[in-house]
Amino acid sequence: MTQLIINGLIAGSLAALIAGGLALVYGVLGVFNMALGQMALIGGYCTWWLHQIVGLSLPLSIIGGLTIAAFVSWIAFEIFINPFYKRHRFLPLVTTIALSMILDGLILLFFEEKPRAIMPGVRHSIEVFGARISIEQIVLISFTIMLMMVLAYVLHSTAFGRKVRAVVQHDHAAMSLGIRAPLLHRFLFIMSGVLAGLGGIYLGIDQNLTPVFAFPITIKAYAAIIAGGKGNIWGAIVCAYLIAILEQLVVGVHWFGSFYVPAGYQQTVALLFIILFLLFKPAGMFSTKTRSA
C-alpha cells in the first residue's frame, strides 16, 4: 500500500507540473493548449541532448532545456495564440493542434524515434516503510512539491500574484486599474511552457522520452484541470496527484481480497474521473461560487 502511494506521488508530481502550468493558461487566457505534451517533450529532449550529447552537467542542461522550452513557448504564443485568442477562445484549440503536429515532426527530425533517457541506469533505491523509492525520485518529488509551494506563495502573497488573480477575475477591469494584462498573458503562457518543460525533464530522468508520449501527457493534464475547476491552480495540482494515486490503486490493490483490475484499464481511470466530475460537480472539485454579471 505504501508502495502504491509512493508510486502515485511519482506519477502525480509529473502530472502536477504540467497541469499547474495548464491551469494558469486556461484560467487566465481561457485558452486550450493542445501542444502542451509536445512542449514537455521539447524541454525533456533538449535537456537530454545537452546532458548526453553536448556533455554539460545535469544542472546546466536542465537550465538550458528550460530556456529552450521558454523560447519555444514564446514563439508559439506569438504565432499560434496571440493573433487568435481574442477573436474566439476556441480558435487556439485548432491552432495549437497544428502546433502540436509541427512540434511532433520537429522532435522526430531532431531527436529521432529512439527512446532517450536523461540519466540511464538503475536507480539507487532505499526502503521506506516497506516501500522502495530511489534517491532521484525523492529529489524529483520534493522539488516538485517545493516548486508548487513557491508558486502558491507568489500567487497568494505577492503583488505580482494579486495582479494575476485580478486578471483571472476580470481582464478588462484589471486593465482599467493599470495592470498590463497582455504582457501578463504572454508571461504566463511562457511560464506554463517552462513548467511543462520541467515535466518533460522529470519524465526523462525518471523513465524515458519517446515522441509518442505527448498526447497522454496532455490528456492527463486536462483531466486534472477539469476535475480541479476552471482556473483553480490548487484544484488542478491536487487532482493531478489524486488521479495518479487512483490510477495506482485501481490496478495495484487486490480488490475485496478476490480480484485485480486488469492493467489495461489503468489509463481509463483519468478519463472516467473527468466524466464523474462533470456529472456530479460540473464546476470542478474546488470550485467556489463566483459572482457574474
Binding site: Q3, L4, N7, I10, A11, L108, E112, E113, K114, P115, R116, A117, P120, G121, V122, R123, S125, R132, S134, L203, Q207, N208, T210, P211, V212, F213, P216, E247, Q248, L249, V251, G252, H254, Y260, P262, A263, G264, Q266, Q267
Partner: protein, 372 residues
C-alpha cells in the same frame, strides 16, 4: 459549374481507386514497401527499408530484372493497422505496385493483408512474427518465423531450466498479445501473472508492487517496442526483484542499453541467429547505411525479401498469381539469414532459434533453443 465539378472529381477518384493494378511491361518495376518510418517502432522501419534498398540497388546495378529497373516506393505504416491499411491502399491503387515488402509490425501486415489479397498483390513481410499472419491470406508470405514456433522454443527453455512460474506483462498490440496467447497455450497455468497494458504505458510500478508480493521464477517483459521493454525491466530491478528476465527478439535492440544499461544486464532473449557483420551483406550494409538502428538482421530479412521478389520476377514476370506460385515452390533459397523456403501458409521454413544474453552493452549469441 463548380457544383457539377465537385461530384465529378469525387467520382473520378473513386473510379481510379477501383481499377486493378496492371503492369504494362515497360518502365521501372514498382515495388512497394510498408513499415514504421516514424513513431516508436521506427528503428524496424529504418533498418528494413535500408535492407530492401541495398538489395534493389545491387539488382539495378547488375542490370535490373530482365533489363527493367526496380523502383521502391516506401510508405509509412507507423506500426499501426490504420496507417498500414491506407499505405497499402495507396501502393495498390495509386502506385499500382507489383508486390509489397511489408509490413514490419504484425499489426501493419495484418491490416494491409486483405487489401493486397483482394488486389492479388504478393506481400512478403520481413519481420512480422504474429501467429495470425499464417492465415492472413494466400498472397501473404513472410521470411521470418511465426511466434507460434518461438513460444514453443520458449516453453521448452522454461522446462529445461526448471522455471515453473512465469510473470508476464504484455503490451496491448497485435504482436505482443498474440505472442502471449501462444505462450499460454504452451505453458498454461505456469503463467502465474498475466497483465495486459495499453501501448505506450511507461509506468508499470503498480504491477511491480504486486509482483513483489508473489512468487515467480522468471519475468517476461512482453513489449512491442524496446522503449516499453526497457522501462519494464528497469522498474522490475528498481523494486529489488532479481528473477531472471527473458523475452523475445524485440529486446535485441541497441537502444535498450541506452535507456537502462544496468537493468538490462543479464536479460535473455530468444531470437534468430545473428547476421555476420563480416559477411558480404554485413560489410556492404555497414558501408552504405552505417550501423543498424535496431539490429542488422532486420535489414537482412528485408534484403532477402527483396532478392526473392527479384528472383521471382526474373523467372515468371510481374503478374501477382505467378509470383505467388513461384514463392510457394521455393524450398531452398540461399538468403543472408539462412537457407529457407515457404510452407503452404506462406510461413518460412528452415529457420532456427538461439538464446541471446545481454552483457556489457551488447547481446551475445549463446546456445541453440530447439523448437520441440
Amino acid at each position: 459549374m463548380k457544383r457539377l465539378l465537385a461530384p465529378l472529381f469525387a467520382l473520378g477518384i473513386l473510379l481510379s481507386a477501383c481499377t486493378t493494378p496492371v503492369d504494362d511491361g515497360t518502365g521501372p518495376i514498382k515495388l512497394g514497401y510498408i513499415g514504421p518510418l516514424t513513431g516508436e517502432a521506427a528503428s524496424y522501419g529504418k533498418d528494413t527499408l535500408n535492407g530492401a534498398l541495398l538489395a534493389i540497388n545491387e539488382i539495378n546495378e547488375a542490370g535490373g530484372v530482365n533489363g527493367r529497373m526496380i523502383e521502391l516506393i516506401a510508405e509509412d505504416g507507423r506500426c499501426t493497422g490504420t496507417d498500414a491499411a491506407s499505405a497499402a491502399q495507396k501502393l495498390v491503387n495509386v502506385d499500382k505496385v507489383v508486390a509489397i515488402i511489408g509490413g514490419q509490425c504484425s499489426g501493419e501486415t495484418l491490416a494491409a493483408a486483405p487489401i493486397a489479397e483482394s488486389a492479388q498483390v504478393v506481400m512478403i513481410s520481413p519481420i512480422s512474427s504474429s501467429p495470425d499472419v499464417t492465415a492472413a491470406g494466400d498472397f501473404i508470405f513472410r521470411d521470418y518465423p511465426s511466434d507460434a514456433l518461438k513460444t514453443k522454443a520458449m516453453a521448452g527453455y522454461f522446462k529445461k531450466e526448471g522455471i515453473e512460474k512465469v510473470a508476464a506483462i504484455t503490451e496491448n498490440t497485435d504482436f505482443a498479445v498474440a505472442f502471449r496467447d501462444a505462450l499460454k497455450e504452451n505453458i498454461g497455468d505456469a503463467l502465474v501473472f498475466d497483465e495486459v497494458v495499453e501501448p505506450g504505458t511507461k509506468d508499470y510500478r503498480s504491477l511491480m508492487a504486486r509482483l513483489k508480493d508473489m512468487e515467480f521464477d522468471a519475468f517476461f517483459p512482453n513489449g512491442q517496442t524496446p522503449a516499453a521493454m526497457a522501462a519494464m525491466v528497469q522498474q522490475l530491478r528498481e523494486q529489488g526483484l532479481t528473477q531472471v528476465a527473458i523475452s523475445h527478439d524485440v529486446a535485441q535492440d541497441a537502444s535498450m542499453f541506452e535507456i537502462a544499461p544496468d537493468a538490462v544486464e543479464g536479460l535473455l532473449a530468444i531470437g534468430v541467429p545473428a547476421v555476420d557483420r563480416d559477411s558480404d551483406f554485413g560489410t556492404k550494409f555497414l558501408a552504405e547505411h552505417g550501423e543498424a538502428q535496431g539490429a542488422l538482421f532486420f535489414a537482412a530479412q528485408a534484403y532477402d525479401a527483396a532478392r526473392l521478389f527479384a528472383n521471382a520476377m526474373t523467372e515468371v514476370g510481374t503478374e501477382g498469381v505467378a509470383i505467388r506460385d513461384y514463392l510457394y515452390a521455393v524450398s531452398d533459397f540461399e538468403g543472408v539469414v539462412g537457407t529457407f523456403g515457404f510452407d503452404d501458409n506462406g510461413d518460412v521454413t528452415g529457420m532456427s532459434y538461439v538464446l541471446w544474453t545481454a552483457s556489457n552493452g551488447a547481446f551475445t549469441q549463446g546456445e541453440a533453443v530447439p523448437v520441440n
